[in-house]
């Protein structure tokens, strides 16, 4: 019994890393432009279907296919940014949540469009990692999840280095801290928005690929991750990269423990309960404001 709990706990931690990865892209947009992207999950779904096409139709090995997914995801993000830009600028003065509704509309188009094109069936991509497990003193660990968590850590480090040490990263941080001063300093806010969006979607695109060994592909696959991503971003604190990772781990663990104690649905309820408690007690999240 205890072994099962440990097993689920470890799985929760590993999947929590992936949740964090999905969320960090959202956190970048949320922190940089206060932009709520409801199409985040849809992009993740697109990257998975893209991989499906690459592997099944073009008969390219999945590991090589990753090279195509990255620029494709970035491109999708860039296009979305261009589409949303006029509305963001228009609403800057009135400060309403039209951007949320706009991306919601885009998400509906993308998700249901995918359903029409690909059908509602579940697809699976077989890789070397599918279904592989290793056993550590009686505890079964899914290799796919392990690899996903590992790569997530690498990406988190990369994002951290990017924001702290590169010029572009500094520009992104400047815009998130004080838009007007950044503009005075010559930072092009439109380009930052587009590139930020592109980076955000590239990261979820990678996240989508990482879960392929242990997750099926279907039109609404992104929605579940998106909702958790919002919870994690708020839990961890807007604009905090470290907070996003910690938030992801917390959610992963809560979900795992909830599933062990009750059932899958109640586990999700626990996640929402945690979210609502945080919203009420500490809306700024665990790690607050600075984009570090």
């Amino acid at each position: 019994m205890g072994l099962l709990v440990v097993q689920n706990l470890i799985a929760g931690v590993l999947i929590g890393c992936v949740y964090g990865l999905v969320s960090v892209g959202l956190s970048l947009l949320f922190g940089v432009m206060k932009f709520v992207n409801f199409a985040h999950g849809a992009v993740m779904m697109l990257s998975m279907y893209f991989m499906l096409i690459v592997v099944r139709l073009m008969k390219i090995d999945p590991f090589i296919g990753i090279i195509f997914v990255l620029p494709a995801s970035f491109f999708v993000g860039y296009i979305l940014a261009v589409v949303c830009e006029p509305i963001v600028i228009r609403e800057r003065k009135t400060g309403s949540h039209t951007a949320l509704l706009l991306t919601l509309g885009l998400s509906l188009i993308i998700t249901n469009g995918a359903q029409i094109v690909f059908g509602p069936e579940f697809y699976n991509i077989e890789t070397v990692l599918s279904g592989q497990t290793i056993v550590l003193s009686g505890v079964i660990i899914n290799v796919g999840k392990l690899v996903a968590a590992g790569i997530t850590m690498v990406i988190f480090c990369l994002v951290f280095i990017f924001l702290k040490f590169t010029d572009l990263g500094r520009a992104v941080r400047a815009v998130s801290q004080d838009m007007d001063s950044a503009l005075l300093m010559g930072v092009g806010e439109r380009q930052i928005f587009r590139i930020g969006f592109g980076i955000s979607t590239s990261i979820v695109g990678i996240a989508g690929i990482l879960i392929l060994p242990f997750y099926s592909i279907y039109p609404t696959v992104g929605d579940v991750f998106q909702l958790k991503a919002f919870i994690i971003v708020i839990l961890g604190g807007l604009g905090s990269i470290m907070g996003t990772l910690i938030g992801g781990l917390i959610i992963g663990v809560v979900e795992a423990l909830g599933a062990t104690a009750f059932n899958a649905s109640y586990a999700q309820m626990c996640v929402f309960a945690v979210f609502l408690i945080i919203l009420v007690l500490k809306p700024k999240g665990l790690f607050g404001k600075e984009l570090t």
Partner: protein, 357 residues
């Protein structure tokens, strides 16, 4: 000298015309002819079931009016108060489950159950509102989604609470017993009239709120909450009131729907898709206008139902793609919704007149 006199005359014409337009504007707007057309439309709407017996068409009408009804109910908090709730389906579900459970377990007439459901929905909205309405914008929306999903998951996974068998994902069937007292009818016509009356009620309530102090306070909250608070308006109380009224009517709608399709389950009556649909209609039709949600529904629902019926199969979800396109187009070109078109035309006309000087 002469040029100045001409200038004066041109401006007078422009002012006169827009003044004339404004003088005839009432709730139903427009000139005398417009009023006559509206009256004719109302009569037509009322006598349709007498001439049209085709169940499919009647079903289409009922569904359209139903969506107009719950969208208008949502608009009390979404449009009037500016709080975008994406979890309103929870109230529909509460209304539906309350009346159905009271009816199947205790034999309480669904009419009473409808009111009970509405009141329960309002109470739940108070519980939800108290922590959530302190939040602004996106946070509020996400919180409403979280609450709605929590409720849906709970119903989805729970077999029974005490004497009430909720039957989780299976759903409940409303025990079939035709009769007015049991809120069940053989033909569709009575359902049509009931939902029409409900729609009229909610539209009247919306209009009344707009004219009262509550309405003006809500506009202040909607436009700039910080300023409203600085002016001494208790924004939280107003928002909570609007939310409760909205929830009450939405809950009643839930009961109606349950009695119409005689079934309640977490997939139809709860869930984010219903919540999103409730929001799309007002956005497309115009959140600031009383008739906005109705307008949006009249455009979107028939198209949606027709595409679902005739395309079907491979094209499931096409109607949702249309919803998405509608929202994007509305936000881009019609921020005030379709109801705002009148405003746009009027502004352009005055502007063209000014340009003709």
């Amino acid at each position: 000298m002469r040029r100045r006199i001409n200038h004066h005359r041109e401006t007078d014409t422009a002012n006169e015309t827009s003044g004339r337009l404004q003088r005839y504007s009432g709730v139903l707007g427009g000139t005398g002819i417009s009023r006559l057309i509206t009256a004719i439309l109302i009569i037509v709407v009322l006598v349709i079931p007498v001439f049209v017996k085709n169940p499919f068409i009647l079903h289409l009408l009922i569904v359209t009016v139903f969506y107009a009804y719950i969208s208008s109910s949502w608009n009390i908090v979404g449009g009037l108060a500016g709080q975008i709730s994406l979890g309103h389906s929870v109230y529909v579900g509460i209304g539906a489950y309350t009346s159905t459970l009271l009816y199947s377990v205790y034999g309480v007439s669904p009419w009473i159950g409808m009111l009970a459901g509405g009141i329960l929905a309002a109470i739940v909205s108070l519980i939800i509102s108290y922590p959530c309405l302190r939040l602004q914008g996106v946070y509020y929306t996400l919180a409403t989604i979280a609450f709605a999903e929590t409720f849906r998951l709970f119903i989805f996974a729970t077999e029974r609470i005490g004497p009430f068998h909720i039957k989780a994902a299976q759903g409940l069937l409303v025990p079939l017993r035709i009769g007015f007292i049991n809120y069940q009818f053989v033909s569709k016509a009575p359902y049509y009239y009931i939902i029409l009356v409900l729609l009229a009620v909610v539209l009247t309530v919306t209009h009344v709120i707009k004219k009262t102090k509550l309405g003006f306070y809500l506009v202040a909250v909607r436009e700039n909450q910080s300023v409203a608070q600085a002016l001494g308006i208790n924004t939280t109380t107003r928002k909570i009131t609007a939310a409760a009224i909205s929830a009450f009517f939405t809950g009643i709608g839930g009961t109606f729907f349950a009695q119409y399709i005689l079934m309640v389950d977490p997939f139809t009556i709860l869930g984010i898709m219903l919540s999103v649909t409730m929001v799309i209609m007002p956005i497309v039709g115009g959140v600031y206008s009383t008739f906005g949600p109705l307008l949006g529904t009249l455009i979107l629902v028939p198209i949606s139902e027709l595409t679902t019926s005739f395309l079907g199969g491979r094209f499931i979800g096409f109607n949702v793609v249309l919803y998405g396109i509608a929202i994007v187009v509305a936000i881009y070109f019609l921020p005030q919704g379709l109801a705002g078109i009148g405003e746009i035309i009027r502004t352009r006309r005055v502007r063209t007149m000014d340009a003709e000087k």
